[in-house]
């Protein structure tokens, strides 16, 4: 099966400038934000990722798709070293962000996680007020500043997450009294507050109704101007709608990585085609 893995870097390095409707996409694709080479991941003795190599580009949305258990979340969590907190987890290979190996000895993991924000499948606000949720990351990272600066930063983050108008009059209310969709946008605002430059989203809309989902998708679209976004999704339509690039994972391996339109209209691999057309178990 290894022989079937497409080498995405080759294809993406030589993009045809006219092939994308997205303005300026060609320029951005020359840059590499996240560069992963031959990465394998183990939960104890169990290998969950096998020899993943992928280059993720700045200011585009990259979607990870694939059947349940194929390692999408695991891979996403290797990018901010979230897996470090799982006992027995082990990584092989390299992962670089802006050219720096994030698994090198002596790397400041706390600082890395601040720069690589993460939004989880199930919204997980703290049992605090809306304001304090957004302020939390600023406070622990010593970014709170003066009272006015903090309030300004909280407002800015809530605006970025398209939540400000809904909550500006109840910032002191508990975050847990919000709707599921609002809570998820709050978690996005909380992640944005500490000014990351990469945003990892693990099925951020899977627990939401269609309207809330649409809002999150619009948000992702807006945010890619300023952030590098990686989004895991089970929803093919969503991947097609929001992402520029798509990576298809299967049984812990990266099968194919290409422009989203290509993945969905003319995939190179039979497995990918079977999966995106729903001919898959």
């Amino acid at each position: 099966m290894t022989g079937q893995i497409a080498n995405p870097s080759i294809r993406l390095k030589a993009p045809t400038p006219t092939a994308r409707p997205t303005e300026g996409a060609a320029n951005r694709e020359r840059d590499v934000k996240i560069d992963v080479e031959h990465l394998s991941f183990f939960y104890g003795a169990k290998r969950a990722l096998e020899d993943i190599s992928v280059k993720i580009h700045p200011n585009v949305v990259t979607a990870f798709i694939g059947p349940s258990g194929c390692g999408k979340s695991t891979f996403l969590r290797t990018l901010n070293r979230m897996n470090d907190i799982i006992p027995g987890a082990r990584v092989e290979g390299t992962a670089r962000i802006d050219g720096n190996d994030i698994y090198a000895p002596g790397v400041d993991v706390v600082g890395l996680r601040r720069r690589v924000g993460m939004v989880f499948q199930k919204s997980n606000p703290f049992p605090k007020s809306i304001f304090e949720n957004v302020a939390y990351g600023l406070r622990i990272n010593g970014m709170a500043g003066s009272k006015a600066e903090l309030a300004g930063r909280v407002e800015e983050s809530l605006r970025q997450a398209a939540l400000w108008d809904e909550v500006k009059d109840r910032l002191q209310e508990s975050a847990l009294a919000m709707s599921g969709g609002q809570q998820q946008r709050l978690c996005i605002a909380r992640a944005l507050a500490v000014r990351p430059d990469i945003l990892l989203m693990d099925e951020p809309a899977s627990a939401l109704d269609p309207i809330a989902t649409q809002r999150i998708e619009e948000l992702v679209y807006d945010l890619k101007k300023a952030y590098t976004i990686v989004i895991v999704t089970h929803n093919m339509q969503q991947a097609a709608r929001v992402s520029d690039h798509t990576a298809f994972f299967w049984l812990g391996r990266l099968i194919e990585y290409d422009r989203t339109d290509k993945i969905f209209t003319a995939p190179a691999e039979k497995l990918t085609e079977d999966y995106v057309t729903g001919r898959f178990g």
Partner: protein, 304 residues
């Protein structure tokens, strides 16, 4: 399905009702048995300090004071230690150490009170006495440390209560911390939290349950009899001094119940039991109330 549901509700409801009636029955019986003293002394029983069985004068203030003072001191000492142990076991300690430590704390909780009392007499009291003797005179002038260095007294009682309460509180607090969803810690870590900050977030999430654990320890300290009786000095006086021998409600009942010859004496002792019963109910009610209001603030429609 539905009828089973109703059956389940009825039977659990019946149990709850039985429990409530037992509480009421105990309160009623205690009041009935102590009626003589209630009628004779009224509210003075709570407010006055004379405890003179010969003259037939009974005021319970020193015992109420002694119980509350020793329990609150024990709470102050035990709470940080217990939470520290709970956090260490649930968050920090290496896996191989976890099971032995859990076993050890549970073992400590199972030791009978009288054994703690013996340990108190032979180990704790002499240690406290040398500590009292070693205290510089400048400090001995403070009301908190006034009185002769006897060893037996409030400090020994509070310490032994703390030792007895720690395993309880830490076991409950540990269980509570275990229920904190991993997602809460992950949320903190994902924002650049250190391990310490992530633990703080977990404690904050579990704060309601931790308050419950602390209150449970307080309730246990209030009612503890044997070990305290053995080290507190059994001297009915209202004193702020940690060195002064004092008395608790549970201790006076245990010590004097068998020798209470006349009816008024007996009624006064039972009334002390009633007072202890009421204080315990109030403390439990307050802690429940605290937990409910905290939980109420926490639960929103999205929290389910």
């Amino acid at each position: 399905m539905r009828s089973r549901d109703i059956g389940f509700r009825l039977s659990t409801g019946a149990f709850a009702f039985v429990l409530a009636s037992i509480v009421v029955a105990i309160g009623f019986e205690l009041s009935r048995q102590s009626m003589l003293s209630i009628q004779k002394f009224g509210f003075d029983f709570w407010r006055t300090s004379t405890w003179d069985p010969v003259a037939g004068q009974f005021g319970a203030l020193p015992f109420i004071w002694g119980t509350l003072y020793s329990s609150i001191l024990a709470l102050l000492i035990a709470t940080p230690v217990a939470i520290g142990i709970a956090v260490f076991i649930s968050e920090l300690c290496p896996r191989i150490l976890r099971t032995p430590l859990v076993f050890l704390t549970e073992l400590l909780a199972a030791i009978p009170s009288i054994v703690y009392g013996l340990w108190g007499i032979f180990v704790l009291v002499p240690a406290v006495r040398s500590l009292e003797i070693a205290l510089p005179d400048s400090l001995r002038a403070l009301p908190l440390f006034s009185g002769p260095p006897l060893g037996v007294g409030m400090l020994s009682a509070a310490l032994i209560l703390a030792v007895m309460v720690v395993p309880f509180t830490s076991t409950v607090a540990r269980e509570v911390l275990r229920t904190v969803p991993l997602a809460q810690r992950e949320a903190a870590y994902a924002l650049g939290a250190t391990q310490f900050e992530a633990i703080r977030a977990a404690i904050f999430y579990a704060r309601t349950g931790i308050v419950g654990a602390v209150m449970l320890g307080f309730g246990r300290a209030l009612g503890e009899t044997m070990a305290v009786t053995m080290v507190i000095g059994n001297n009915p006086q209202v004193s702020a001094s940690l060195f002064a021998p004092q008395y608790t409600m549970a201790a006076v009942i245990a010590n004097e119940f068998t020798e209470a010859a006349d009816e008024l004496y007996l009624a006064a002792l039972v009334e002390i039991g009633l007072v202890l019963f009421i204080i315990t109910l109030v403390v439990n009610g307050l802690s429940r109330g605290l937990i409910w209001t905290m939980a109420g603030r926490k639960s929103g429609r999205a929290a389910a």
